[in-house]
């Protein structure tokens, strides 16, 4: 009974699928934007890979400077606290001073009115806008995304972020009219639909690095991307280091279990 019924059910599915094949056109609709779209360029960082990755502390310090002086005008960094930047080699005193340089939302203890106070190491980076509405109002109705997780939240990760920051350019001559950047939009072939609301954020010498590194657009883009790799996963380096310890421990465990397995089975043909 199962087999004849199954046969009929199978024929039903197969018929529906054959009809689906016959009625589905074999050609795709042409996607013009696709041909202008570019793959992200690779960015090599000290924290890459699994062979002795490490944080380049000088680069992270520079990257945070770029975030603070450029990106933070529009982009928040919700998940990062001032105390976290101890990873860059700052002392407790330096972190306190750094935090003090920010005003964070607070409540006036006498009146209960909203107020601000100096930042503490336990505070998180404050957001540039009070809420989404304010952010959109200030940015031509576009919402600047929070950057904490940006290198994990985009296909292509850090390569994408670096390419996007350095990828602003004039539209190519053969770009069709419907793909031309509209008012308030900027052409960037690394962006999914080619035009984005963010204006080119970096200009040469926009920041002055304390360590004397020349602040080219490429250098600043690399530094801030390295910083954003760290903000996305501050435990990245620790993860790899612990991973090695766990892996080699388990390797020894596995070799021992293999030897005991062979030993126990030595007299049994199987």
């Amino acid at each position: 009974m199962v087999r004849p019924l199954g046969f009929l059910v199978g024929l039903g599915f197969i018929t529906a699928l054959v009809l689906a094949i016959l009625t589905t056109p074999l050609s795709n609709e042409e996607n013009v934007a696709h041909s202008f779209h570019k793959h992200p360029r690779h960015l090599k960082l000290a924290s890459d890979g699994i062979v002795l990755p490490h944080w380049d502390k000088a680069q992270l310090q520079r990257g945070m400077q770029v975030y603070k002086e450029v990106c933070s005008a529009c982009h928040s960094l919700h998940h990062v606290a001032f105390r976290d930047i101890a990873d860059f080699g700052y002392t407790d005193g330096q972190i306190k001073t750094f935090a003090k340089g920010f005003q964070v939302p607070s409540i006036n203890p006498d009146t209960g009115e909203p107020a601000t106070r100096d930042g503490l190491p336990s505070d998180y980076f404050p957001s540039p806008y009070a809420n989404e509405t304010a952010a959109r109002a200030a940015n031509n109705n576009a919402l600047p995304p929070d950057l904490s997780l940006i290198t994990k939240a985009r296909e292509g990760g850090k390569d994408y972020v670096y390419s996007l920051l350095t990828g602003f350019q004039n539209p190519p001559k053969n770009l069709p009219a419907e793909l031309q950047p509209g008012t308030g939009l900027h052409y960037n072939p690394y962006f999914a639909n080619l035009n984005l609301a963010m204006a080119p954020p970096l200009a040469p010498n926009q920041v002055t690095y304390a360590d004397g590194t020349k602040a080219t657009v490429d250098q600043m883009a690399k530094d801030v991307t390295a910083f954003l790799v760290w903000t996305a996963e501050p435990k990245l380096i620790k993860r790899i280091q612990v991973g090695y310890a766990v892996f080699f421990f388990l390797l020894i465990f596995t070799v021992l279990t293999y030897l005991s397995y062979r030993n126990i089975w030595a007299d049994k043909k199987h």
């Binding site: 199962v2 087999r3 199954g6 046969f7 059910v9 199978g10 024929l11 599915f13 197969i14 018929t15 529906a16 699928l17 054959v18 009809l19 689906a20 094949i21 009625t23 589905t24 056109p25 074999l26 050609s27 795709n28 699994i50 919700h78 998940h79 976290d84 995304p145 904490s148 997780l149 994990k152 939240a153 985009r154 296909e155 990760g157 999914a192 996305a232 996963e233 501050p234 435990k235 993860r239 790899i240 612990v242 991973g243 090695y244 766990v246 892996f247 388990l250 390797l251 465990f253 596995t254 279990t257 293999y258 005991s260 397995y261 126990i264 089975w265 049994k268 043909k269 199987h270």
Partner: protein, 428 residues
């Protein structure tokens, strides 16, 4: 039940004797996974995956319980609580990545376990009930994994919940009310997240219960083996302990090595970037894709693009997707061949390998956007999937002429060793 030559449990220590009279749990363990359970001596490494699946479930339960201590199932804070675990909880990043990749490892292991069952005919009499319970476990795992993926409340969590609960709205008349009842609203929201968390915590223990039934049902006829010939006498078997505990110990070691490599060195390789964006009901991701272990079924769903008879394409897809798993319940009766192992089934073996390639192809297509050639490839893949189980398998099992088989497990083992030694002496 067990074989007459099974080693009886004879406690010597007074405490164990006392325990055996009051609550014979040591006896149960001894007879289930100890020296009291005789197992065919010729099992290959494919027989490791049952124990590995159990290990994967335990890892999921333990890491999950710890995660639940720090996670907040509220749509307003769920995403941030996961980041809190990743950044501020001691070793939280490890627990979270272990749970995330543990789900993938669980499915890899279970798919290999199912592969073993299909190749060696483990679903056939006298082990049909073991297979049926296994399919129940598989369905429960899918439900659990789906609800777990919703909990971080990222974009793919939200839109995955939207799409998957949307399947129910394809049901005529009652579909939309059923969907709203499942979600607790018109779109996934706090009510959805809360109930999914509750069920995600509950179902693993239901799975554990069904696994106990699965093992119980297995112990009645005893384990199958690569020849598919049933155990005939004592020399066909070895005691589970120490022989298979030792072999499973090694298997667990290899499993953990792969698991930690994935967890520590590439924890996001099997995830989606979009799930690191907080859920937003107003912004649909360009490309909604389920987790990798659902992709073959997702491809079957998307393959149906034609309204045939009075059923529209969407409903066809939903019926076919559920049907593609439901038909596994009938497998022991669709395959009427008494020969279990594909080693002796020359014709079935060909179609079996086509099925393996077909499922991998469907998985690949499931990942792609709804464009050609992926649409036609998933349609062809889905045709073969249903044809294999519902048309080819019943016919093949009728007309096939099996290869000559050894008389017993021991004879097969000795024959293998005879050829091994002769080829070894030939090369020497």
């Amino acid at each position: 039940m067990s074989f007459p030559w099974a080693k009886p449990y004879e406690p010597t220590h007074p405490l164990m004797k006392w325990m055996d009279e009051k609550l014979p749990i040591p006896r149960l363990v001894y007879n289930a996974t100890g020296p009291g359970y005789p197992v065919p001596r010729n099992l290959n490494y494919f027989w490791n995956f049952g124990v590995l699946a159990g290990a994967a479930l335990m890892i999921q339960i333990i890491t999950g319980i710890v995660l639940a201590m720090h996670y907040a199932a509220n749509a307003g804070v769920a995403f941030n609580s996961v980041e809190h675990i990743m950044r501020d909880v001691n070793a939280g990043w490890f627990i979270r990545y272990a749970h995330m990749n543990g789900a993938s490892m669980f499915f890899i292991v279970v798919y290999l376990h199912i592969f073993r069952g299909l190749y060696y005919g483990s679903y056939k009499a006298p082990r049909e009930m073991v297979w049926l319970l296994g399919v129940v476990i598989f369905l429960l795992m899918m439900a659990t994994a789906f609800m777990g993926y919703v909990l971080p409340w990222g974009q793919m969590s939200f839109w995955g919940a939207q799409v998957i609960t949307g399947f129910f709205s394809a049901i005529p008349l009652v579909g939309e009310p059923v969907r709203e009842w499942l979600l607790g609203g018109f779109v996934p929201d706090n009510a959805t997240l809360n109930r999914f968390f509750s069920l995600h915590y509950l179902l693993p223990f239901v799975i554990l219960g069904v696994i106990i039934l699965h093992i119980w049902a297995l112990h009645i006829p005893g384990s199958s083996n690569p020849t598919g010939i049933e155990v005939k006498d004592e020399q066909d078997t070895v005691p589970f302990h120490p022989y298979y505990t030792a072999k499973d110990g090694f298997g667990v070691g290899v499993f953990l090595l792969i698991f930690v490599a994935l967890t520590f060195f590439s924890p996001n390789a099997l995830g989606h970037a979009d799930n690191y964006i907080p859920a937003n009901s107003l912004s649909t991701p360009a490309h909604i894709v389920p987790e990798w272990y659902f992709l073959p079924f997702y491809a079957i769903l998307k393959a149906f693009t034609f309204n045939f008879l009075w059923i529209d394409a969407k409903l066809w897809g939903v019926i076919a997707m559920f049907g593609s798993i439901a038909l596994l319940f009938f497998l022991p009766w669709l395959d009427s061949s008494p020969i279990k192992s594909s080693n002796y089934r020359p014709l079935y073996r060909i179609f079996f390998w086509i099925l393996v390639v077909d499922v991998l192809l469907l998985g690949w297509c499931g990942m792609q956007p709804a464009e050609q050639p992926w649409v036609i490839l998933s349609q062809i893949g889905a045709i073969y999937y249903f044809a294999h189980f519902l048309v080819i398998l019943p016919i093949v099992s009728r007309i096939e002429r099996p290869l000559p088989m050894p008389n017993s497990i021991t004879e097969a083992v000795l024959a293998k060793h005879a050829t091994d030694t002769s080829s070894a002496s030939a090369t020497a």
